[in-house]
């Protein structure tokens, strides 16, 4: 007879009266718990955290010192490229959400949560808020590095605030999209693959080169895709370039993406959860 390391009384003493109930959680209690969980995940994933800081720095230096002089020998390219790098990094950062969501869906965690009296979608809210926080930090790093290599914005505090707002809205939109992709993908690996496609979008916009320099058919895509108005809005707020109607398009696109991704995600979540 082996000595059981669990005392035989474990069950009895570990059991509160077997008639206890889980109360229904009120307000956003579940969301708060899951946001806390996702933030802990974020802090403990050292590699992802490192990437979130190193990648923006590398991109910043690459675009400024390697491509920058070729594109604009006067040295003004850094000003042009900062908004693009902010969005590129936010995209990379948000891609992790697809993997986290997919991982939760493919392990038993989501099942256990769905058998409890709470909004199980709260687990997704946790991932989305975590992505927002992490990517805003990455954005701060991008801007910090940019300032070091000669970025000279002329924005007022109010315009800075607006920049944060637009960037946050963009992060939310792309995160919701990645969360839905995470729900749709069969495995975390697949989620990571699908997400990669989205990361090419910034290159097909006015992020790195003016749209006017592209072939005509590409111009049409670049001008009518969501990232261009977001870039132009941030550029206008930071550097005072003409705003036009970019801000409306930017907000409209982001809200549209959030709504579509949320509806799609909610549908996927109901359909997928519980089936393994």
């Amino acid at each position: 007879m082996t000595t059981a390391t669990v005392p035989a009384s474990a069950g009895a003493t570990a059991t509160a009266p077997a008639s206890a109930r889980r109360p229904r959680l009120r307000g956003v209690a579940a969301e708060r718990v899951f946001i806390g969980r996702s933030l802990i995940h974020s802090i403990r994933d050292v590699e992802a955290l490192l990437m979130a800081v190193v990648l923006p720095t590398m991109l910043m230096l690459m675009f400024t010192f390697i491509f920058g002089n070729a594109i604009d020998p006067s040295g003004g390219y850094v000003d042009y490229v900062v908004p693009g790098i902010i969005l590129l990094c936010a995209g990379f950062g948000a891609a992790g959400t697809a993997i986290s969501v997919s991982r939760d869906m493919t392990t038993g965690i989501i099942d256990r949560i769905r058998t409890m009296p709470l909004r199980s979608g709260a687990v997704l809210t946790g991932h989305v808020v975590e992505s927002l926080v992490r990517n805003l930090v990455a954005t701060a790093v991008v801007i910090g590095v940019a300032l070091l290599v000669g970025f000279s914005p002329n924005a007022t505090p109010l315009e800075w605030l607006a920049v944060v707002g637009v960037v946050a809205l963009y992060i939310l939109a792309i995160t919701y999209l990645f969360a839905a992709i995470g729900l749709a993908a069969a495995s975390p690996e697949a989620a990571s693959g699908y997400g990669f496609i989205l990361l090419f979008l910034p290159y097909l916009s006015s992020a790195f080169v003016p749209v006017a320099t592209m072939p005509e058919w590409l111009q049409w895509i670049a001008e009518n895709q969501p990232i261009t108005p977001v870039i132009e809005t941030i550029r206008s707020l930071l550097l005072g370039t003409p705003m036009g109607d970019s801000a409306w398009w930017a907000v409209g696109w982001c809200v549209l993406i959030i709504v579509v991704a949320a509806v799609w995600g909610a549908w996927l979540f109901r359909r997928k959860a519980g089936r393994r």
Partner: protein, 304 residues
């Protein structure tokens, strides 16, 4: 007798495959009930339906006195599920997992922490309590997984193949815990493909075959259904060479011995052959009940 789980005519179809074809179950309060069946028999689907994860196509089910169809929220307040894959967060520590579950179960932060300390102690995870679960062994994960279901002492506990993949010792540890839980009044509904597990642990056993309950009762009742005892013949080294069914009568035994005379057992006549009679095992029951079903070729593994 009050029923913790009362299921009538439960049906579920996935696409064209009928997984449950009219399931009836009655589980008394405070008992351990084992749903036994080969892979693909519908065990997990049954658990998924009873724990509100999947809606049935037809039939009624009451869990802890609440109607599953009308008040799934009420059911959710009174059940806990430990699923097949350990539903633990690998990035968090055991304590953090337990506190999170406590918070989600409506405990205050302080109460959740106190409960976590208690459970970590009870399940012998103290040494590893502040290590990430990703570093845990299979047995430790299962213990934590079960502990997570006990954060609140709900009346009905569902365990889907709780000991699959565990070594003998971890399995026996879990059995002890489950037994004590039942003794304390918790109803435990578990699925298993280990016959020994059902035999040792369950008050009542139901054999699920192709979406229906093929037999139900205590282990002894099920064994009695198969009837006859078995004469075992072992050679001088104690190796089982032959099993012959018998009705236990003198006539039956004589027939066995006559047969022995005719056949040369173990290649060397009957020298050194040992005879013993045993009651049918659950294996015999299981094979008898589910025989003739090529679909249910049992992937049964003896829990040794």
């Amino acid at each position: 007798m009050q029923l913790a789980i009362d299921v009538r005519g439960l049906r579920k179809q996935f696409g064209r495959t009928e997984v449950l074809a009219g399931l009836d179950l009655a589980v008394p309060q405070g008992s351990v009930f084992a749903l036994l069946g080969p892979n693909g028999a519908g065990k997990t689907t049954t658990i998924n339906i009873l724990t509100t994860l999947v809606a049935p196509d037809a039939g009624t089910a009451f869990v802890a006195g609440c109607d599953l169809a009308r008040a799934p929220g009420e059911v959710q307040q009174r059940i806990a599920l430990t699923g097949q894959s350990a539903a633990v967060d690998e990035v968090l520590t055991a304590t953090e997992n337990l506190v999170m579950m406590g918070r989600l179960s409506g405990l205050t932060r302080r109460a959740a922490k106190a409960r976590a300390v208690e459970l970590v102690h009870r399940f012998d995870l103290e040494a590893a309590a502040d290590r990430r679960v990703g570093t845990y062994s299979g047995g430790m994960r299962r213990r934590l997984d079960l502990a997570l279901s006990l954060v609140v002492g709900v009346p009905v506990l569902f365990l889907d193949e709780p000991t699959t993949g565990l070594d003998t010792r971890s399995r026996q540890e879990l059995w002890a815990v489950i037994r004590t839980l039942a003794d304390a009044g918790t109803t435990v509904f578990l699925t298993t493909q280990y016959l020994e597990e059902a035999d040792r642990l369950a008050d009542r056993i139901a054999v699920l075959d192709r979406g229906r309950i093929a037999a139900e009762g205590t282990a002894d009742e099920l064994k009695a259904r198969v009837g006859g005892d078995v004469v075992e013949l072992r050679d001088a080294d104690g190796v089982l060479v032959r099993e012959i069914p018998t009705d236990g009568s003198v006539h039956g035994l004589r027939a066995v011995i006559d047969e022995l005379d005719r056949a040369s057992v173990g290649g060397g006549g009957v020298d050194g052959v040992q005879v013993s009679i045993r009651r049918p095992s659950l294996d015999d029951v299981f094979l008898a009940i589910t025989s003739g079903a090529e679909a249910s070729t049992p992937e049964l593994v003896e829990a040794k």
